[in-house]
Each structure stands twice: as C-alpha cells, then as structure tokens.
C-alpha cells in the first residue's frame, strides 16, 4: 500500500499549465522563459526528517532572490514533489516536472538510491539536476563514465569518498592527537553510499594512525545490534568509526543500553536532527558525528542568517540537506545569470564554472577530467565540514578548532584510556 504513485500536494495548482503542454514535443521541452519565470523542481522525501527541510529551504532561497527582484528580473518559482522515499515515484515526479511543469532545473532528494534512479532521466530529458544530500560516489562516477549523457547531474553534497576524508581529518586532530587513540573498527550500514565511504575509511584511517581492526557492514533493516556491538567489543578498539544514515536510533539506544565502552565517531545522519535526543531517550549522549553545520556555528557569514530565517519561517532547524538545498537554489540562479539562458547545455557549462560561498563553505565543482566530476571540492578554504557531539541534549561543535563551541566529553560507561587533556 505504501507504493501508491505519488505527486506533490499542489497537484491541482498546475493542471492549468498542462493544457499548454499538448502542442509541444517532449525531447525539446518548452522551458519557461516565455512566462518570464525560472522554475526549479524540488523532489524530496516530505515525511522523512532529513528530506523535509529540502523544499522549505529551497522555497526560502527563492523568496529571498525574488524579494531582491529575481534573476535578471525573472522570478524563481519552486515546484515541489513528495516522492515517499521511493525511486519509482521519484521517476514519475521527475517526468512530470520536466514534461508537464517545464521546470528548468531539478533539486532532488537526499537518498542515493533515488538520485541514482533519476540520473539517467536527467540525461534522457536533458535537464539539470542537483542533489542536496545524496552521498554515493556512484553518482559522480556515472558522470565520469558517460559525460555527454550524464553531464546534467551535479552533486551538491559531499560524496562518501569526500566525507570519509573529512572524518579522517577530524579523527586525526580529535582522536589520534587529542586522545592518543590507536585502533578503530568501522561499522556501517550496507547501502549504496557506504561502499565508497568504507573504502575511504580503510584507506585514510591507517594514514592518520588509526589501525583498522575490523570492518562490519550490517543490513539497514537490522533491529538487534547486540551481536554487532559484542563482536566489535571483542576486538577491543579505541573507537567505532560509523557510517549510518537509514538507521540511527536503534544502534544508538542499544549502544547505550549495553553500555558499550567505546565511543562512536563518524557519519550518523540521523544524529544531525534536533529531534534525535528525544527519539533516543537521551541515549545519544556522547555520540560524535560529522556535519556540515550546527546550531550557532558560523561556517560562513551566510550560515547563521539562513538558520535564523529558516527557523522564523518554519519553526524548526534545517537538516543538513536543508543547508545545501538552500545553497543549490542560489547556485542554479547564479548559473542562469551567467549563462544568460535556461538552455540546459549552456546551464551545465555555467554550473561547472560555479564559485560560490554558501552556508556550508565555498562551493566549486570538480572538473571534467576528475573521477568525481561535478562533485564538490573539499579541503581548507573550500568545504571542511564540522564535527559535533551530543552533550546533555544539545549538539555541540568541537571541530574545526576555530569553530569549536565546547570540549569533548563522554558518558560514564565509556572508557577512554588517554586522559582528556
């Protein structure tokens, strides 16, 4: 029953447009210039915590731009579609967005599965698509494989590979240098995006001086993590390097209830949600996770103003995909401006030249010859990400040092050998 075909809640609003469609053929869809409006389609998971911020953030950006008179005098219109986290429904939404609503570009989903299903359609329907949250490297690899066909897809969020790099950077400073840790076990869910992530971990952790004792992948529908934690514990590592997104509450709660004496450190998408504390009954105390943003952390001068106005408008904090979705609208708008046209191919060229300071750092896309073409460039001066920890009910940023808001601290059951200097 979950599989009813989908479409955004404002279906009725667009039926008027549809009549216009009839005359026009699909392969060269009519863009919306004539109406003097730039349309951006947003396909996201409305009821999932991470996905729900995407349309709102995009809308916020559009409003701001329109308030300033739009791009070259053209207003931006956001058309959003709920995909119920299903690839099939996303494909239908994408087809409708392009063939029916004639959007000029699409911002799509935080789920790698969905984006991968849409990527070929972006090529087939020659429409620029950017994902604000998916992490799988395969997305960019596909572009590298068949650039001419897939060049319309852009990766607006860090690829898993990049993420693993950022986690390692933070681990170096916080764990190896800070806590003198020597060994680690990788624990990640068995999903598209973690394959390159784990590969990245395996490669960079030893480099920074963390010996990888074991590498555990578990099915995302796992409910009982006891065996996994016991297994890890028997290896006696100093830290658990995580890669979880679909799951989150259950491993965290069982980590606490079993009092696993080893800290968790790494990617834990659900931990970035402000509701995570309540969902886990506070079990998340002491969990360390990578993020591109955090409450009260001014990554760039745009970060905090965005969070404020987002919270004013929608009454809650944006998820990580919210930040990127917000930036993506600006990036697309900027590309429109430079391309001076909404023609997809011109738009791609303009997008590739992007150099934009957003809420999570400075955005530049990797060039055509790179194996991760259209992925984000990372590193000092570009995007570094943050590292935060849940401390009695609040998300506290600990890394990088210049943005730190507190000191690392663990619940009593965690045994950290080295003294917390």
């Amino acid at each position: 029953m979950a599989e009813f075909s989908t479409f955004c809640r404002h279906a009725s609003k667009f039926t008027g447009v549809s009549s216009v469609a009839l005359a026009l053929t699909v392969n060269a869809p009519a863009r919306a210039e004539d109406q003097g409006v730039l349309k951006i389609g947003v396909i996201a998971e409305a009821q999932a915590v991470a996905g729900s911020s995407i349309p709102s953030a995009a809308q916020l950006a559009a409003d701001e731009i329109n308030a300033k008179g739009g791009i070259d005098g053209r207003k931006i219109e956001i058309v959003s579609y709920d995909n119920h986290s299903s690839s099939a429904e996303s494909v239908r939404a994408f087809q409708r967005a392009v063939n029916e609503d004639h959007v000029n570009a699409v911002i799509a989903s935080y789920v790698s599965e969905v984006v991968l299903a849409l990527e070929p359609w972006a090529g087939r329907l020659k429409t620029v698509m950017i994902t604000p949250g998916a992490a799988s490297d395969v997305i960019t690899q596909n572009i590298a494989k068949d650039y001419e066909h897939n060049k319309y897809t852009f990766h607006g969020y860090l690829t898993s590979g990049a993420l693993s790099g950022l986690v390692c950077d933070a681990a170096k400073d916080m764990l190896v240098d800070g806590l003198k840790m020597k060994t680690a076990v990788i624990m990640s869910e068995d999903a598209a995006w973690t394959t390159p992530l784990d590969a990245g971990y395996m490669q960079c952790l030893p480099k920074i001086g963390l010996q990888v004792l074991d590498h555990i992948r578990f099915s995302p529908d796992t409910t009982d993590f006891t065996p996994i934690f016991n297994n890890i514990e028997s290896k006696k590592p100093d830290v658990i390097i995580t890669g979880v997104s679909h799951v989150g509450v259950q491993p965290t709660v069982q980590w606490k209830s079993q009092e696993v004496p080893i800290p968790m450190f790494g990617i834990a998408s659900q931990a970035t949600n402000s509701t995570f504390w309540k969902d886990t009954n506070g079990a998340t105390e002491g969990v360390l996770y990578q993020g591109v943003s955090g409450p009260g952390v001014a990554v760039t001068e745009k970060t905090l103003p965005f969070v404020d106005s987002f919270q004013k408008k929608f009454g809650n904090f944006p998820s990580y995909a919210g930040y990127t979705a917000y930036d993506d609208v600006y990036i697309i708008a900027d590309a429109f401006h430079r391309a001076g046209s909404a023609d997809s191919d011109k738009l791609v060229t303009a997008m590739e030249a992007t150099d934009y300071i957003g809420t999570i750092g400075r955005v530049q896309f990797l060039p055509k010859d790179d194996p991760h073409v259209h992925g984000l460039k990372t590193g000092k001066g570009l995007i570094t990400g943050l590292f935060l920890q849940w401390q009695n009910g609040a998300q506290v940023n600990l890394w990088p040092a210049e943005l730190a808001k507190g000191k690392i601290a663990f619940p009593s059951f965690i045994k950290v050998k080295a003294s917390l200097n």
Partner: protein
C-alpha cells in the same frame, strides 16, 4: 458459448472504455497519464492473480514473487548486456513462468492456508536474495536500467493501456473458455472434477503458469517504463497486498473487476494525496469497508444483480 461472450455486455462496455481511455492523452495532463500507466500495470497484476484465486481457487499471497522475478530478470539482463528490450522482457517473462512452476509444483500439494503461506515465504526469500546479491540486483539501492520503452509519457501510456487491454481480453476469454470452465470446476470441487475425468493438478498448474506469464510480462514492461527497479516497487509484500486487495474489491472471479479494483486503488491513493500520509489510511479504510459490506466487489455486485434476474 463464444456467442455468449460477444453478447455479454461486459465485453462491449470494456471495449468502449478502452477506446475512450486511448483518447485520454489528447486532453489529460501527463501527470494523470503517468498515474494511469502505473495503474494499468497493476491492473494486469490483479487480473493475473484473480485467475488463480477466483478460478483455480488457490490463494497466492506471493504475486510479487512472479512480478519481481520478471522485473528483476529483465532489468539485470539489460544492465549487463543491453540486448534489445524485447529480449529482456521475454527473458523476464520466462523467468517468472519457470519460477512459477518451481513454486507451484510442490505447493499445489498443500491445502488450506499452507499454499498461500508457501507463496508468501517465496516472496520473502526473493526479497532477501535481492538484498544479499546487491552486486547483481542493486540491493537496497534498487536497479537502474539503461534503456526505457519511451521517454514520452503518452507513448508509455498507450503501451500500458494496450498491454492491459490485450491481457484483459486474453485472461477474460480464457476464464470464459472451456478450459476456464474446467479450471473453475477443479477449483470448486477437486473430487467431483476428477470424477468427471479432469486432471485437476494439471489444470491448476496451467493456471499458475498463465498467471505467472502475465505477472512476469507486466513486471518486465513496468521496469522499462520506470527505468528503475527496486524491492519497494516490485517485490515488497505491501505491493502484493495491493494487488490482492485490488482484485478482491474489484470483484473476485470476474477478471475485469480485478483491473477496475487495482486502478481504483491507485487513483484513490492519488486523489487523496493532498491528505499526505492519511491517504493510505483512507484508501485502506475504503477497501476494508468494501470487503466487509460488499464482499462480491464492484463488478460482483452488478453481476449478481444480473444473475438474480
């Protein structure tokens, strides 16, 4: 008897409906077309299921086992070697048929809830296989296929409509044909059917194969409409449930009713979309009401009224 079929209004009504449906793209939005395209494929799923339940009297809880086999075989083949689409579809269909036979041969020995149960387990197995063999099937991610039937939603719509119409005609004709009679007799009372000289198992197995054929074919085609296959779309038990409910509320033992039921379910789910998460709730509630108050389903009610006279 052939005459009777031609005389039965059902056929003519169906024919007119199909003709009208074929003209929809001229004045309906692509979004509605996309919705109906999916609905039509589900219509075929439900009709194939009804042949088994309504006529062979075997409750198959695993329609998605057959559908999934068809869909994934076709998708994987296309992914690996990119043969012409029709080859993939053919392969998918045959896979479904073979799988159906392998499932049915032993399962047909079982009575009562056990047949249904085995079919259910088959689905769970397939689901696990897809997840475990992620390298081949794309696992949780789902599978993206390079080729699609068409990128024009009108064309896709007409393909689906045509396919449903043909399948419907075939299944309906079959159900009304002499073999259909035998099948119905075998389903209703195997002992008597055998005493009339009919090899009950043979006919039930045949029914299973036909059902598998159409399920697999529909599944394979749907993959090439979506350009993607995922457990949630083709294999998950909830999908099977939707197929079954469609057939039941449409009116079991009517074939055509099954299609109507399935289309109704999807259309409803869509019209209620503005209610967000409540949509599914309300659709289930409606279906439940139908099951409780009008057990013979939409078409069943009409048919009954006709029979009474």
């Amino acid at each position: 008897m052939l005459l009777r079929i031609l005389r039965s209004p059902a056929i003519w009504i169906a024919l007119i409906v199909v003709i009208i449906a074929a003209t929809l793209p001229l004045y309906v939005s692509g979004y509605v077309l996309g919705l109906l395209t999916i609905a039509y494929y589900f219509g075929v799923f439900s009709m194939a299921w009804d042949l088994l339940f309504g006529f062979a009297n075997e409750v198959n809880f695993g329609p998605t086992f057959l559908i999934g086999l068809g869909a994934y075989t076709a998708g994987i083949l296309d992914n690996l070697y990119q043969p012409p689409i029709w080859v993939c579809v053919l392969a998918g269909t045959s896979a479904a048929v073979v799988g159906g036979v392998i499932l049915a041969l032993p399962a047909l020995r079982l009575r009562g809830p056990y047949f249904g149960l085995t079919t259910l387990v088959a689905v769970l197995m397939l689901q696990n296989f897809v997840v475990v063999a992620a390298g081949l099937t794309g696992g949780e991610i789902g599978l993206t296929v390079p080729d699609v039937l068409s990128i024009d939603d009108k064309v896709n719509y007409w393909i689906a409509l045509g396919f449903m119409a043909i399948s419907g005609a075939a299944l309906y004709g079959l159900s009304r044909s002499p073999v259909g009679l035998i099948l119905q007799a075998s389903g209703q009372d195997p002992v008597q059917a055998a005493a009339l000289g009919f090899n009950v198992t043979k006919h039930k197995l045949a029914a299973f194969i036909v059902s598998a054929f159409f399920s697999g074919l529909a599944g394979a085609l749907m993959v090439f409409y979506l350009g993607a296959a995922s457990v949630g779309t083709f294999i998950d038990v909830t999908v099977g449930v939707q197929v079954i409910i469609g057939a039941v509320i449409g009116g079991r033992r009517t074939i055509l009713g099954a299609a109507i039921g399935a289309i109704f379910l999807i259309a409803m789910g869509e019209t209620l979309r503005p209610l967000g998460d409540l949509a599914t709730f309300i659709v289930s509630a409606m279906a439940l009401v139908v099951v409780l108050l009008f057990p013979s389903g939409f078409v069943g009610m009409i048919a009954r009224r006709r029979e009474a006279t």
